[in-house]
Amino acid sequence: MAKPEAWDVAIAGAGIIGCACAAAAAEAGLRTLLIEAGVPGGGTTAAGMGHIVAMDDSPAQFALTRYSQQLWQQLAPELPRQVEYERCGTLWLAGDEDEWRLAAAKREAYRAQGVPAEMLDARALAAAEPHLRPGLAGAMLAPEDGVLYPPAAAKFFLDRARARGARLLAGECQRIEARGLRLRDGTQVAAGEVIIATGTRAAELAPGAAIAPRKGHLLITDRYPGRLHHQLVELGYLRSAHALSEDSVAFNLQPRLSGQILIGSSRQFGAATAEVEPAMLARMLQRAIEFMPGLAAMSCVRAWTGFRPATPDKLPLIGPVEDPPHVWLAAGHEGLGITTATGTAALLLAQLTGQAAAIPYTPYLPSRKTEAVLEHA
């Protein structure tokens, strides 16, 4: 490497979170170095679906996801075609009357926050997505939700950061040192502030960060243009997929601009390897076929897995670590890192530069008391 250089900010990890932080830091006029051991956007970012979604598990989650979603909407005109950003909306599917009531309550919660949402009864749902199985009670439509292709979105932020003088360094961060960090090859990086954005591996640099990898499977079909129009998620997702202890699957479909359909989702704790597990994949696909029987005969081209960086209270860690000073976390986004990359970068930079933030950032501070949230009833 060239002669040691003092950076204002060094960011460990060039996933979508690290790239978004780098773009925000560079835009704030900070001399920014982004450090990545692998391919930028090639970790959890590349494995995810790319659902830009407002989620209301908790008020804090709703605030961050909605804020982030609006930031994406502002960025939309600047996003290159490769990002494939599309506001297709999410349909939260109600299987029965109980879930229909849940959907109605969800709509009220959205309305209370000024987030557009509408109810589709069984007939309207069948018209919106004719390939769903008959007999569903209906759905709540969140029309401002969207989808994008995450690796290209990460690259968009990376290019934006570089255009403002940031640099990308290939290397693996080994440990935090006073005013900087040290790479595994011995390189020392001097930086005023260090941001840890290494997702599932953040605890290696920030001991005590309560982040555990939560494995997920996805499968993508061949092209079937016009077969699916919205992101589809079962409302049971709130019950099944969010259980903290058990392996679970939930129906989650995404239309890609290419006409391909992404099929999810599964959640597992404690899975050691990244291999596709046929049993878990089969369970996930059976769930999907229950909701959309026609999927069974569609041709699929690839299954893969990824690890979500999960925290006990399902909120990310955004802010300073307790010790040492000048070290910041931007990690632990679980399955919402693509959505909240924009909001995370804005909140972190506000704290780092002492500016006012658009929404309160205290719920996401790493110093908060994290407790496992209770399950939905």
Partner: protein, 419 residues
């Protein structure tokens, strides 16, 4: 759900021989093959008529009680089970020993116009003709490299095609030396002699290659190059393949190590780096039909625990493999082939990614992530092999399904239940 003692994937020469030998040792054998009739690519059936060469093996297999799964594709595997799909039906199959005889596919390289309809692989056009394509009277240019192109040209000519030219990219001296090696065994002499008869009157040029294919909506002419000379030929079909590459995906999915030829690494008994998994034929390194038959017999006997019977074939197999390697070394692909494509030539045919966009990235992984090359329906089989030749890109690991299948097939649990 059925239990199987020994499961063979692929009913080409290697798979047939392996299945026969294992079954003749009294073992239960299931032979899985994607085609409706046995023979693989080299002994591909002509419509409903099996190739004559398969007959003795098919008879022995029948006598020894080999169970056939024809028109059946293996999509996914664990150390205990295979997920199979045939004509829309899915099942899982337990295996104890697995013999991979998955053969090889053609290396196809990008040049301007290579995506035009009627631009086929060399073996590709032959397969289409065997499947009923009427080729009589059609003008065909056969190009690329290797013994397959000559065999294809001879076959097409016999079927009434007008083969205008066979273009071998290797330099004349190298091609001549390779041609001599075709006479290295009596079987090869007979084969070469038949080929020579069929190719009488056909122009064969060494040191010659296709620079571009042209036409509107379909192939109309090819632009050829030999040394400094450049010319065009009007034609109906181009059959262009640059040799064969092993089909190693199923083995890779099961964790088997690769060798330098990107085939599955095997020991002298054809065992892969993973216990209970064997590999025979071109899937372990392209060496041709004689070597495949010998390797298949070794794998079949060895998987049945009869190394004593397998041992008799080892010296002959090694000799055949050495002869094939000598021949293929002579036909090494020339540098010019790396520069045929223009920036706007498609690199990935599934996703329509131009070569100029793909080569801006440092690795296969990065190019895939950012351009989607290799993420389409062929799962990188075409552009992955091309990227390896063009830029030395190493392919990433294999993910299921190893061939596109119905979602419902992967929705089967291990015990083969749909729900």
């Amino acid at each position: 759900m059925a239990r199987a003692a020994i499961t063979v994937i692929g009913a080409g020469p290697a798979g047939l021989a392996a299945a026969v030998c294992a079954a003749e040792c009294g073992r239960r054998v299931v032979l899985v093959d994607e085609n409706p009739l046995p023979g693989g690519q080299i002994w591909r059936a002509k419509k409903n008529l099996p190739a004559i060469e398969t007959e003795p093996w098919r008879r022995r297999a029948q006598a020894a009680g080999v169970e056939w799964r024809t028109g059946c594709q293996a999509a996914q595997a664990t150390p205990e089970r295979l997920w199979l799909e045939s004509a829309g039906e899915a099942e899982t199959l337990a295996w104890e020993q697995l013999i991979l005889a998955t053969g090889a596919r053609e290396l196809l390289l990008p040049f301007p116009g290579w995506t035009l309809p009627n631009c086929c692989g060399a073996g590709g056009l032959q397969a289409l003709v065997k499947a009923g394509l009427a080729i009589a009277g059609q003008r065909v240019v056969v190009a690329g490299s290797g013994p397959l192109t000559l065999a294809v040209a001879a076959y097409l000519q016999q079927q009434g095609a007008r083969v205008l030219l066979v273009a071998e990219q290797a330099a004349p001296m190298q091609a001549a030396a390779a041609a001599l090696l075709l006479f290295s065994s009596p079987a090869r002499v007979r084969q070469a002699w038949r080929m020579r008869d069929a190719l009488r009157g056909v122009e064969i040029q060494a040191g010659c290659w296709v620079e571009a294919a042209e036409g509107a909506e379909r192939l109309q002419r090819v632009r050829l190059r030999r040394g400094r000379r450049r010319w065009s030929l009007e034609c109906d079909y181009l059959a262009c393949g640059f040799g064969l590459r092993p089909n190693s995906e199923l083995g890779q999915l099961l964790g088997c190590a690769l060798n330098a030829e990107a085939g599955l690494q095997v020991d002298r008994w054809q065992q892969t780096s993973v216990a209970r998994i064997w590999c025979a034929g071109d899937a372990s390194g392209v060496a041709g039909v004689e070597a495949a038959l010998l390797a298949g017999q070794i794998a079949g006997y060895a998987a049945a625990g009869r190394q004593d019977l397998a041992a008799a074939f080892i010296a002959r197999r090694d000799r055949q493999q050495r002869a094939s390697r000598r021949l293929l070394r002579r036909l090494a692909l020339r540098q010019e082939l790396r520069r045929l494509a223009a920036d706007d030539t498609w690199f990935c045919r599934c996703e329509d990614v131009p070569i100029g966009e793909a080569q801006a990235y440092a690795s296969w992984r990065e190019a895939k992530l950012q351009t989607r090359c290799g993420m389409g329906a062929c799962q990188g089989r075409i552009c992955g092999a091309a990227g390896r030749f063009l830029w030395g890109w190493e392919a990433a690991g294999v993910r299921p399904p190893i061939v596109p299948v119905r979602v419902g097939t992967l929705a089967l649990t291990e015990t083969g239940e749909a729900q």
